[in-house]
């Protein structure tokens, strides 16, 4: 039965190979079908595995596939493991992934055939890597997946490789990720040197053998990895730029799955994190700071995808806040609900962009409500869900994180609620500017406005349903639920902090956050539905619109000095130093050869003279051998 586990990553890999190799001979329809079918097959197997785990309440034992690294004292197996946490992630990845594949098949149908093949091959490879990441039974396999998703992200951001800006964005994402990966890798080395193993089953029972310094070092370095992959301060700037890729890619990779890899990794390592106060504080502070910073930026963005990108960064910040205060279930819960509504938002945005013929500026939209009814309604539901209005899914997950944050420190809670208010505000600013009011685009655009095809709207509707009811798996006890997710994940998230807050306090916290969000929604809708801001922002708004000048800051303090250093190395060290040495040797040989050539005069007498002189010298040397040896001995 456990052989079934291998099938989960196998299908996307097969899809990748078929689509990648045969991209020039298959038609677009077949490519889309193969790509989607591979993920659907994975999803079905994942469902079976999920219910198996749920039924038995234990991880499915999986034999290692083969020994990946075998070096003297340590051995790293290429091994999978499917437990509660990974089976949940499997469902999210393959489920949401399947919907996005189906959507992509329609969204990308204008592209030329071999590019569609390339697109679906990358997409399948991404799903494969992501499955490897969550199914790996040790940090090394996780790292393979970790790198694989980074690579696919790079390939897909740069999908339209003829546009240099997009290539630049792809490179930026890859390099930022690599910085984080270095931290991850160092943490793995550290773990290996201290414990001699990287397998989850062996590391977590042995954490008591590590000194506090080791644990802090390892967890902080792992978190550096998470910062890169999950776009946290200071490595978050790649994610908004990653919107250069096709919109379904943004939905799948840069909203629903890849960016949650960091959350998964920290939740997986909860046994380590719970032992390090420093790391937990760091995670929480970075999380809430990212949540607030990116929320402020999102308020003033005018590109529909940029708003969603900053919103993603902000929501990831919430998840890290949850992880930092020990609410691991809350964070994983938010990953799940966020995957639903953020994928829905991006796909909705894709539908809008599709209808508007690649127009992404919300200032040129407006009044799309009546033209795109399905998109409009699903988008609205997603906005409500992300704003945290009960009983939509976002409310439950966000509330759980906020309650845990309150129990940890009310400051976190206050900041979290401010962030939630901003979330509600910018989401409804986006909604109102895009869908309400009057249409502000050109006549031609208005003429061509159309609802997207069924292949696009049906995934939207499914995701909308999930966004609405997805929270039901984690209804807290205070609202009369049982929090099934909590019970399900308990065997994996063993070090979860249990907060004891009185019911009255909890009601008050919920009431306040919902009220604040509702007020923010009301202000945003009333302000932007009638009179959206069309001009360029001024004053403080400009600072926000320009993203606090963080990109410029990085450019000035990191990129430019590095560029200058590289310039010095290139022009001075390389040109005059290394080139000089190499060319100097060449010139010397050439010069001495020219001088020596003169000896070959063509006069036989000269040659014979040299011969005779050489023989005389040899004789002299031979006779004075002893003396010469003595002399040499004296010198050396």
């Amino acid at each position: 039965m456990n052989k079934l586990v291998y099938l989960v990553p196998l299908f996307p890999l097969a899809g990748f190979l078929i689509n990648g190799l045969l991209r020039k001979s298959l038609s677009k329809g077949i490519i889309g079908f193969i790509g989607s079918a591979a993920i659907l097959a994975s999803f079905v197997v994942s469902l079976v595995l999920f219910f198996q785990v749920k039924g038995s309440g234990a991880a499915i034992p999986v034999e290692p596939l083969f020994t990946f690294i075998n070096a003297d004292t340590f051995k790293i197996d290429f091994a999978f493991q499917v437990d509660q946490l990974s089976s949940l992630f499997l469902l999210i990845i393959t489920g949401v992934g399947f919907l996005i594949h189906v959507y992509s098949a329609a969204y990308m149908h204008e592209e030329p055939e071999q590019h569609v093949g390339r697109y679906f091959a990358y997409l399948n490879l991404f799903v494969f890597s992501m499955l490897l990441l969550v199914m790996g039974a040790n940090y090394v396999i996780m790292f393979i997946g970790w790198e694989g998703v980074g690579l696919c992200s790079y390939l897909l951001i740069g999908y339209w490789f003829k546009n240099n800006d997009y290539n630049y964005a792809a490179k930026k994402a890859f390099i930022m990720n690599r910085i984080g990966d270095l931290g991850f890798l160092l943490a793995v080395f550290w773990l290996l040197s201290k414990l001699g193993t990287v397998s989850f089953n062996e590391v977590f029972p042995q954490v008591s053998r590590l000194t506090p310094t080791d644990i802090t070092g390892i967890t902080v370095l792992l978190f550096v990895g998470a910062m890169g992959k999950s776009a946290q301060i200071p490595l978050y700037t790649w994610l908004p730029d990653a919107m250069a890729g096709p919109t379904p890619v943004s939905a799948l990779i840069h909203a629903a799955t890849m960016v949650t890899a960091g959350i998964y990794m920290v939740a997986r390592s909860n046994a380590l994190y719970s032992l390090s106060e420093v790391a937990q504080h760091l995670v929480a502070i970075v999380g809430i700071a990212t949540a607030l910073l990116s929320a402020t930026i999102a308020i003033k963005q005018n590109d529909i995808k940029k708003v969603l990108a900053y919103s993603t960064v902000s929501q990831l910040g919430y998840m890290f806040l949850g992880l930092g205060v020990g609410a691991y279930t809350g964070a994983v819960f938010h990953v799940m609900t966020h995957a639903f509504f953020k994928a829905l938002l991006f796909l909705g945005a894709g539908s809008v962009i599709h209808a508007m013929h690649h127009e992404q500026d919300i200032r040129n939209m407006g009044g799309l409500k009546k033209h795109l009814p399905a998109t409009h309604w699903t988008f609205l539901l997603a906005c409500i869900a992300i704003s945290g209005i009960p009983p939509f899914s976002g409310f439950f997950s966000k509330d759980e994180i906020l309650a845990a944050a309150y129990a940890h420190s009310p400051v976190y809670w206050v900041l979290g609620v401010i962030g939630a208010a901003m979330t509600a505000f910018y989401m409804f600013r986006l909604y109102a500017t895009t869908f309400l009011g009057q249409f502000r685009g050109t006549h031609e655009q208005e003429h061509h406005l159309h609802e997207s095809p069924k292949a696009m709207t049906i995934p939207l509707i499914i995701l909308a349903v999930l966004s609405v009811i997805g929270g039901m798996v984690g209804v807290p006890e205070v609202l009369g639920g049982h929090h099934e997710l909590h019970a399900f994940l308990a065997p994996v998230l063993t070090t979860e902090t249990h907060h004891e807050i009185s019911h009255s306090t909890e009601y008050a916290l919920m009431g306040i956050s919902v009220a604040v969000a509702a007020v923010a929604i009301f202000i945003a809708v009333s302000k932007y539905s009638k009179k959206p801001e069309l001009g360029e922002p001024a004053g403080f708004g400009k600072v926000l619109a320009d993203k606090w000048y963080i990109d410029e800051l990085y450019n000035n303090i990191i990129v430019k000095p590095l560029g200058a250093l590289a310039g010095v190395l290139k022009n001075v060290v390389e040109k005059s130093g290394i080139d000089g040495a190499v060319n100097g040797v060449g010139r010397f040989v050439k010069y001495s050869a020219r001088q020596l050539r003169l000896l070959q005069s063509g006069q036989v007498g000269g040659y014979i003279l040299f011969m005779v002189l050489s023989i005389v010298v040899l004789f002299l040397l031979f006779w004075n051998q002893a003396m010469i040896t003595q002399f040499l001995n004296k010198i050396f």
């Binding site: 005069s601 063509g602 006069q603 036989v604 007498g605 014979i608 003279l609 005779v612």
Partner: protein
């Protein structure tokens, strides 16, 4: 006569030959100088051969000591004779072609 005399004479002949080869431009003289060097060596070989034979005979035995030296001399004379015939033929041909026996004139393979 002591062996040193022979060595001194042979060395003198050999040096005359070397200097002649190095300094003279006439091919025939150069040739003769080469012969001079060869014969200086012959003289030495014969002298040493005689010396070894005398030493062995003085020890009172019937001996063939020193015969190799004499043998080598014959070889050298034969080879020298062959060389002279070929060399002189070349010089004759050279004279026919360029009307000169100056060795410095023969550097046309240069460059």
């Amino acid at each position: 006569m002591p062996i040193q005399y022979y060595i001194a004479l042979a060395s003198a002949l050999f040096c005359i030959g070397v200097v002649g080869v190095l300094t003279r431009r006439n091919a025939i003289i150069v040739f003769m100088c080469i012969e001079l060097m060869l014969n200086a060596v012959n003289l030495l070989l014969v002298a040493f051969s005689k010396m070894h034979y005398a030493k062995a005979a003085a020890a009172g035995a019937v001996t063939t000591a020193g015969t190799e030296g004499q043998l080598f001399v014959f070889f050298i004379m034969v080879v020298a004779a062959a060389e002279v015939s070929v060399g002189l033929a070349i010089i004759v041909m050279m004279y026919r072609n360029v009307h000169s026996v100056d060795v410095n004139f023969l550097n046309r393979l240069k460059n």
